[in-house]
Symmetry: C3
Subunit: 339 residues, 3 copies
């Protein structure tokens, strides 16, 4: 059970309701009226909990789990211990997400502006927003319905936020137009100057950064991630992108829909990513490149050339994934021979 | 045109004035009295805008641009579309920087201390500074003319800032002596303890960090970058250094003038960089090394030895750049043969 | 001498007292009653200062140092200049840590809650804590004795802190149970959602993150480091861990006692580290791995497999350290032959 100091659980829900919510199917012989009270990991779940199995690595844990019910793929269902109710799904993780969201729903914030917050009189704030302690909302900012502005967050002048956004504690946003259902985690920095200057032995000369950051809907931006505003064009983050912690996104970058950018990776200025591009942790993409739709970049790669749609690359400098795996295998073999 | 919610444009300016400001020369047959109203990227500029071409990659965009005027190098001038006024410069990006600064000048902040800010009575603050909402200025701090202390920024006790500095929102500075025209982007952390402790199986023992961070003039420090104070010696950042986002600079590091440190790179404790050293993105430099004046480190490199003045290195572990390129090419070739 | 704007020095102390404090032995012929007034680096120390030599690289500086006393290993003692008093120790850095702590002791904060801070009435705060300007302490939080909550820090609802903790400026903590003597540097983010969602072409579906962050005693977490809370299990940081700046620790990670994690490294979700694991700077560890007690990971490595207790690995993908060194040497040689 999730720690009640931090979480409130809804429910209980019958198996029938959980099947409906998740799109999973009840295994034959299961009583759809059985009630469940919570979700829990396989190794900690009890008779009244629903769990899930998504990674084959944990099949043994599954086989000895005391969970009352479990979401599982058809292939692994037969490994279930006796007496466990099964919710069978081709995508158990997605089904679990729905079930967990039912038990732990996201609720809109309680409306109100903390007396210690500073909201400029010219800002337009929907009446059902919540602005926490010591937050600052600048002149002319526009903030949609049911937004939560966390404590000590700073929303700069003119910034636009859609509906149902969460701006975490100690976040800074400036020069940005942001859609709905966007979640900025604590410490995110959006809209500061890009790294643009004319280098020279007589001193580096700053170039005014005149673009914005434009973010679509349903985007998450991880803790302490930085997204610079454009130099002239905008920096654009498409709808549905998931960006992890400590990521750097340079000026003029354009990302399509549904990209997934894992922690500590960096995308240099003016590179364009198509839809559903996936970038592994600590990978780097140099500037002015194009990565096609569905391109995939392995963790720690250094991408220095365009990547075709659907192509997977790895290594530094990054090459086709199969070539990178061969390089690694070949090096390992050569060292062994010598050894 | 830059979004007026975020930017105010000055001007208009005649071509003669822009030539003077930028050091560029007007191409023959151009009317120096023509007025221009803004800067814009090549693909969005119109008849009243000035644009620039700095990267050969965008020559085609240049050739079809509708910009009324463009800053361009002598070599590429002939690729201009008919009717475009040309400002010819050997360094078009630097010339553009001057023109853009004319249209979008940096203005000193409007003086004043927000009522919600907390300035210690013993701090010395020039009367023309601006201190934003909920910022904190500690005991004995000294802040020069026309500084801007952003919302929720924290300036620790005894910190010294010169003139015309910008401290971004949610920045933390302690134990630091900082020059003039220094710009700390949102979320920067300066002056915290370095990573210094005596390791041991009975527990790691913290070593008091007794130095400072000393920063020269005309330095930029990118968002969420961290600069630790010295352990006994100071951590020193020379004048004119440009440091990007999410960079880590360890205790006792010394950087000369005009160094350029790209995002997510890290410089470990006690390493010394000469003047105008350039470090690529996600590169790492281990501790106690010396990088000579003008040394260059490729992105994602791992530098584990001293680097000579003017030398360029790449790879992890880093070797001379030409050797790294050969290694990469050789590996690619060997894999192909086998394939 | 440390800058008095930032540091207050205790003392003076006799050599006898410093030997006692540090466990070092006075070299024969040294007067134990001589008083010393400060610590200083070898190249800046004077007759009344104590210095130390820990790195052979600086032996020449040692031999010409004007320090009145120096902590040194038995092997290097003979390289001392004439007249220098010697404190001889098998672990000079640890002995120096003790001496420096004597001169610069950590003092408990002056109790008090700044009027601009916001402490929820239901929070339990020991009377001897200090809460700085604009800090926020949420509902039901419990904070032990002598804690310092820095300016603009945000402690979320229900968070528990033990005794003698330091929460730096602009820190954010939520969903966390934290031990005693824990030091969170400025900009640390603890307890935000892990990077958990079910990917899919119809959109990525967020998975509620229902665990916590549990931190032991005597832990340091560096500036702008991010530690995500567990997805269901907790994220666990063992007692005595030292975590540097800009580190990413994913959900469900478990770290044993005394681990050392250098700057900008990342540990992906659900990986388990034993006791005293050391991870070099900018290294990455993929998810669901196990690193045994005393395992060591070289800087910039990419670990994609389990690591045995005591094993050292390097490279990306990481292999046994000796194999990585061989790979690097072999590549260097091959390139030279061709050249």
């Amino acid at each position: 059970m999730a720690d009640p100091r931090f979480f409130s659980v809804a429910g209980p829900f019958t198996l029938a309701r959980l099947a409906e919510v998740s799109g999973a199917e009840l295994a034959p012989g299961t009583d759809p009226a059985t009630e469940f009270f919570d979700v829990a990991p396989l190794d900690r779940a009890g008779a009244r909990d629903v769990s899930f199995l998504d990674n084959r690595k944990y099949t043994d844990v599954f086989s000895t789990s005391k969970a009352g019910a479990c979401i599982v793929s058809p292939e692994l269902a037969e490994r279930a211990p006796a007496g466990m109710a099964l919710l069978v799904s081709r995508d158990p993780y997605r089904a679990y997400a729905r079930v967990a969201q039912a038990f732990y729903p996201s609720l809109p914030p309680e409306p109100g502006v903390a007396p210690s917050a500073t909201v400029d009189p010219s800002a337009k704030l929907a009446a059902d927003c919540r602005v926490e302690h010591h937050a600052v909302v600048g002149a002319g900012a526009e903030i949609g319905h049911r937004c939560l502005i966390g404590p000590n967050a700073v929303i700069g002048a003119g910034v636009v936020l859609g509906d149902d956004c969460i701006v975490g504690a100690n976040v800074t946003v400036s020069h940005a137009i942001i859609g709905s259902r966007v979640n900025l985690y604590p410490g995110v920095r959006i809209g500061q100057d890009g790294f643009g200057f004319a280098m020279g032995p007589q001193g580096h000369l700053k170039v005014p950064q005149l673009g914005r950051v434009v973010i679509g809907d349903d985007v998450e931006v991880g803790a302490n991630t930085t997204i610079d505003r454009g130099a002239g064009p905008d920096t654009i983050i498409g709808s549905g992108c998931m960006i992890d912690n400590l990521v750097q996104i340079g000026h003029n970058v354009q990302m399509g829909r549904g990209c997934v950018i894992v922690a500590q990776s960096g995308i240099s200025g003016s590179s364009h990513l198509g839809d559903f591009v996936a970038v592994g942790g600590q990978a780097g993409i140099t500037g002015h490149l194009r990565l096609g739709t569905g391109a995939r970049v392995a963790g720690q790669s250094g991408v220095m050339r365009d990547v075709d749609p659907g192509e997977t690359v790895g290594g530094s400098p990054a090459v086709a994934m199969k070539d990178w795996l061969r390089q690694s295998a070949m090096l390992a073999k050569m060292v062994k021979k010598k050894g």
